[in-house]
């Protein structure tokens, strides 16, 4: 950063009426209280006649002087700023210049205008050009005529176009968090490469996130990188699942996440890009790419992105609260999810009947003859949840009922039973077998207000300590 010239500095622009008001004073100030340095942000002729007048065409000086308004008057002694004022306040200008009758014929006060350094899109450019950006990522120089194509060629894309991660965009993304860009969030499998907040921001840019999504994405990544979540195994598996994010709490409304109509579908920027950013981090930072370490036989469209918010209802405990997050706080729950299997039940009007429908559908997770393998998320729509809420059934009550309904005689489930070779080991023949391991069934409320439909999102068949367990992390806003 250049050292400051001793004396007085005025930063101004022709475009600002208050700057025009004070322009005639500059020569007097230079003569009586100088030396005066004038930096004009627009017109090279502003302050003409003052020997220290400069056109700050690149805005470098305005940037280093942290100019927010014009005109700004700064007094510098021994290379250090000692006082500044902005706009025209006659008393302040008289005091800073030491000229007792400065501008006596001008109004007492006139507010200034915004500095050009703060115009939209300019601030980040200046920071990249002149500031200490604290960015450490390797710079990739390219003369490609289309940066989106350049990203494809480098293998950075999940198949859809990504937003090219220019330094300006990454800096803007980093404004979404107070965390140091160099802070390491964790090691991303399979390469176990350290992932800094900066790398998160780069991939968030590519996914199309807004800066305000960063806290949710960071929490999701932290959850995904825990040992319990088992991301390495999840991304290597031949099975379907990928990391799915369920968000709870006030942040979901603040950043406009969708928990309603088409909550599991397309069309909402926050849902779409937060889930996608997590997968891009897996791909780019971790090196987990399909056909390489990702050995999925079929995969699932959710591996592009799978993220939604719970439609919280005062009568039903939100998922995050069930999992220990205090009410009023925001959180994400990571779940190794497959695809969405709809449950159409337009006739049940009692909780007992609807719970039985749900249980039938849930039995199909992995395979109707498998048990305690994959976890599942049951997504209950508002119209279906109303059947339970009006009958006084809490989520916990529904879960209890489902656990009872989802216990099956071993003889139906063992390998070979029903003429189907698939099934659980013979040793369970005389036992009653629960479909899900304890804690393996999660219930979330989401969806539009019309439609007696709910959904099962099956988990990875290697759920639990052997593979992946759901993990909840608070979002630190």
């Amino acid at each position: 950063m250049p050292s400051l010239p001793d004396g007085l500095i005025v930063v101004a622009k022709r475009d600002c009426p208050t700057c025009q008001l004070i322009e005639p004073l500059l020569a007097d100030i230079d003569r009586q209280a100088g030396p005066l340095t004038v930096y004009s942000q627009d017109d090279p002729t502003f302050g003409e006649g003052v020997s220290g007048a400069h056109h700050d065409a690149t805005l470098e000086h305005s940037f280093h002087l942290k100019t927010e308004f014009v005109p700004t008057l700064i007094r510098v002694e021994n290379g250090e700023e000692v006082e500044r004022t902005y706009g025209w306040h006659r008393e302040d200008w008289q005091r800073l210049t030491g000229i007792a009758d400065l501008g006596e014929d001008l109004p007492v006060m006139r507010p200034g205008c915004g500095s050009k350094t703060l115009e939209p899109g300019i601030a980040e450019k200046l920071e990249v050009q002149f500031g200490d950006t604290r960015l450490h990522a390797r710079e990739i120089d390219t003369d490609a005529d289309d940066l989106i194509e350049a990203c494809y060629e480098r293998g950075w894309s999940d198949g859809l176009p990504v937003v090219p991660p220019t330094p300006e965009r990454v800096l803007r993304m980093l404004k979404g968090t107070d965390r140091d860009p160099a802070e390491e969030v964790g090691l991303v499998p399979p390469d176990l490469a350290p992932c800094t907040v900066e790398k998160v921001a780069i991939n968030a840019v590519m996914a199309g996130c807004k800066p305000e999504y960063m806290p949710v994405l960071l929490a999701a990544l932290e959850a995904a990188l825990t040992d319990e979540f088992g991301l390495h195994g999840l991304l290597c598996t031949t099975m379907f699942a990928g990391p799915m994010i369920i968000a709870n709490g006030p942040v979901t409304k603040a950043i406009g996440m969708n928990s309603g109509n088409n909550a599991l579908g397309q069309g909402n920027r926050a849902n779409a890009t937060i889930g996608r950013a997590l997968q891009l981090i897996v791909r780019n930072v971790g090196g987990g790419r399909p056909g390489e370490i990702d050995r999925a036989t079929l995969g699932t469209p959710g591996k592009y992105t799978f993220c939604f918010a719970e439609a919280e209802d005062s009568e039903w405990l939100p998922l995050a609260e069930e999992r220990g997050v205090p009410s009023g706080n925001s959180a994400v729950t990571l779940f190794a999810g497959e695809g969405v299997q709809g449950i159409v039940d337009q006739k049940s009007r009692t909780p007992e009947s609807l719970a039985k429908s749900f249980a039938l559908a849930l039995r199909a997770v992995d395979h109707p003859k498998m048990a305690m393998a994959g976890d599942a998320v049951l997504v209950v729509s508002p119209e279906h949840s109303r059947v339970f809420i009006e009958a006084g059934w809490t989520k916990a009550r529904l879960l209890e009922e489902l656990e009872t309904l989802l216990r099956f005689p071993g003889e139906e489930m063992v390998a070979g039973a029903g003429g189907i070779a698939e099934g659980i080991p013979e040793q369970f023949r005389d036992k009653t077998v629960p479909k899900f391991r304890p804690g393996g069934l999660l219930i979330v409320r989401a969806g539009g207000t019309a439609g007696l439909f709910s959904a099962v999102i099956a988990g990875w068949a290697a759920s639990g300590p052997v593979g992946s367990s759901p993990v909840t992390r608070e979002v630190k806003v």
Binding site: E139, D191, K199
Partner: protein
């Protein structure tokens, strides 16, 4: 006009920033080689000789020709070559 741009590397930076070329095959045994004439004069002379040499080595060869050297190859031709051969030799100059 293109102008140089900078992007920040989104990867774990475990591989070089400059993308490596595809590795050359250890041997041509069992491979099919495409010979692409870009329609510059005497490209065929060069490629005929390459074909002679490859055929003598019992390497199978397929010949292709761009309609004109002034434009990039038509997509159909690029797709055809990619689908039919393992590597390509291109005659670039007169």
């Amino acid at each position: 006009m293109t102008q140089a741009s900078v992007m920040l590397d989104p990867t774990g930076e475990l591989s070089p920033a400059v993308r490596a070329r595809l590795a050359r095959p250890d041997s041509l045994a069992g491979k099919t080689v495409g010979l692409l004439d870009i329609s510059k004069p005497r490209g065929d002379v060069f490629l005929d000789r390459i074909e002679e040499r490859l055929t003598a080595m019992e390497v199978s060869v397929k010949r292709y020709r761009k309609p004109t050297f002034t434009r990039v190859a038509p997509t159909e031709l690029k797709q055809q070559i990619a689908g039919e051969v393992d590597l390509v030799v291109e005659g670039l100059a007169d």
